[in-house]
Symmetry: C2
Subunit: 341 residues, 2 copies
Amino acid sequence: VGKALNKKRITIYDIAVLAKTSASTVGSVLNGTWKSRRISKAMAQKVEKIAHEQGYSVNMQASALRRKRSGIIGMILPMYDNRYFSSIAQLFEQEARARDLFPMISCTLRDPELEVEAVRSMLNYRVEQIVCTGATDPDKITELCHSRGVPTFNLDLPGTKAPSVISDNYSGAFDLTSELLSVLSRKPDKGGGDMIFIGGRNSDHNTKERIRGFQDANKKFGNQPRESNVLAWGYAADKAENALKNIVDRTGNLPSGIFVNSTISLEGVMNWFQKCGIGELKKITLGCFDWDPFAIFLDSRILMIRQNVPDMMHEIFSMVDGKKVKPNELIEIKPTIIIAP
Amino acid sequence: VGKALNKKRITIYDIAVLAKTSASTVGSVLNGTWKSRRISKAMAQKVEKIAHEQGYSVNMQASALRRKRSGIIGMILPMYDNRYFSSIAQLFEQEARARDLFPMISCTLRDPELEVEAVRSMLNYRVEQIVCTGATDPDKITELCHSRGVPTFNLDLPGTKAPSVISDNYSGAFDLTSELLSVLSRKPDKGGGDMIFIGGRNSDHNTKERIRGFQDANKKFGNQPRESNVLAWGYAADKAENALKNIVDRTGNLPSGIFVNSTISLEGVMNWFQKCGIGELKKITLGCFDWDPFAIFLDSRILMIRQNVPDMMHEIFSMVDGKKVKPNELIEIKPTIIIAP
DNA sequence: CTGAAAGCGCTTACAG
DNA sequence: CTGAAAGCGCTTACAG
């Protein structure tokens, strides 16, 4: 199939011959600069008509090479498969298209090498800007891009060498924890152990800030913040499941509540309950830092934090559009708390 | 930020000067054809070293223009935000990269105009092939691409003018319905009304096939297949919710079971139960044609069909690799049924 | 083993 | 109002 179809493509020269004019004129009609060149409307229409009949499609590599502008904006993203990242991808495309920029997304699976590889490919295609979402080492990417003259913006995880837009993780976590503790305080039977924190990595900025919010809210409610109640053993479902299993084994007690740091960790927590009696779920108070439509219907009343992706993307694109900011600007967007009906 | 950073980029000419050799030699070293040109290893190493020091990055638009090969493979996709489509996107990228093709994905929101627009852009960037996933009118896209010499492959929704890879919707629906009816037959209290089908569109191939499987399984179990039990009022959550509300109002009865056609429709069904008493959910038998990890934990035992994306993508790429097939080949991949523990 | 030169398909300053 | 020509940064057939 492939080879057979690769017939010769129509160029501006072919059209020039058919229209009995020059390639310059055709090029200028087809790229919209014909008015400023004072080309006659009659000629413009003639050229447009022939181009349409011949199925002309501009060759962007030639155009971009000449113009020194690719018209492409790049983004790297850890994954597509949860509501947070997939809406980032969708809104990125929408905003890019609204500006006549072609969006180029690469999914990099939180693999540092793949992140660099994807960025290198994008640089080869001469993307004009790059948005680095949830990059493991944003500054490394920024340095690479800056050395090639390409501006970058960080999203979700902040860096120090390019402007960053992230959720206000501290206040989101503080609010979520406060709400969980307040629900708990109204329960007739307070249940077993302490409120615990599960999921994420101590090494990443977001997890650190969320833990700080979690601990501060505990203090506000008069609870001793204990390090042993924080189990940031990784985002992956099995890491979260292990963490929960471990604390139940160790304390011999179900926690009274759980702050789950991401939907992917929530899967792990749910797996544990599935194995050890889904009925137990009713006894605890559950919160998740991230939103998933099905989580609402879980057996327990669950509180969720929904990150404000539209506002975050809006900030990113105001910088893409040229808004002046400090090179290490950090913009934090408040997420909203979702309380099941 | 943007403009300031756009400094001059290093070209093979700059490197030629530094290495005291010609641009041809540099080009050939850097694109890996130097051995067949019998360039000395010493020269190759010298050039590589300087290129690395100078932060050289090949300009793919120049390279592609000259070679008449962009190295890009395109895909359009209705959306990212469910497990089925997001895993299609991830696997597409993986398979493309494994072949040194750069994956370019556009999310087209089931909007026919956006689908054509996205494909046109990709054609301008001279993608070598296009995978059309879930396109509303695959044949229209195929015609457009073929007229420009670009082969296409349909995924998820089939067309008649290009090879298609889809799930075996009929047998998946037949199996899911049979399993639902068999679960139902073992229930002490069979509950209210008939088993119903909710979600999707009568106009699309997949929905039609699934309805056929649903009806045939009903026949096998001795149930009269009734048109009024099929409510393909659209995929959107609110359409599904309305459909359910309507049938309950009309019959004055909860259906004994529901075949939900996609996770997005499942959201609508769950919304109805949320409003009208989530406890009711226990009374019915639920199946979903699509898989979502959280659906497992819903209050009802749910059966799910998980489409086999890895095998589907594998078939697509064997054609990308040049496997000969009929121009209207239809490859159906059996999905698997997932029965909650 | 290496280089000069043509050409991919555009855009745009220049000339008229 | 329009055209000839240069040039974007590569690749590759040709010549030596």
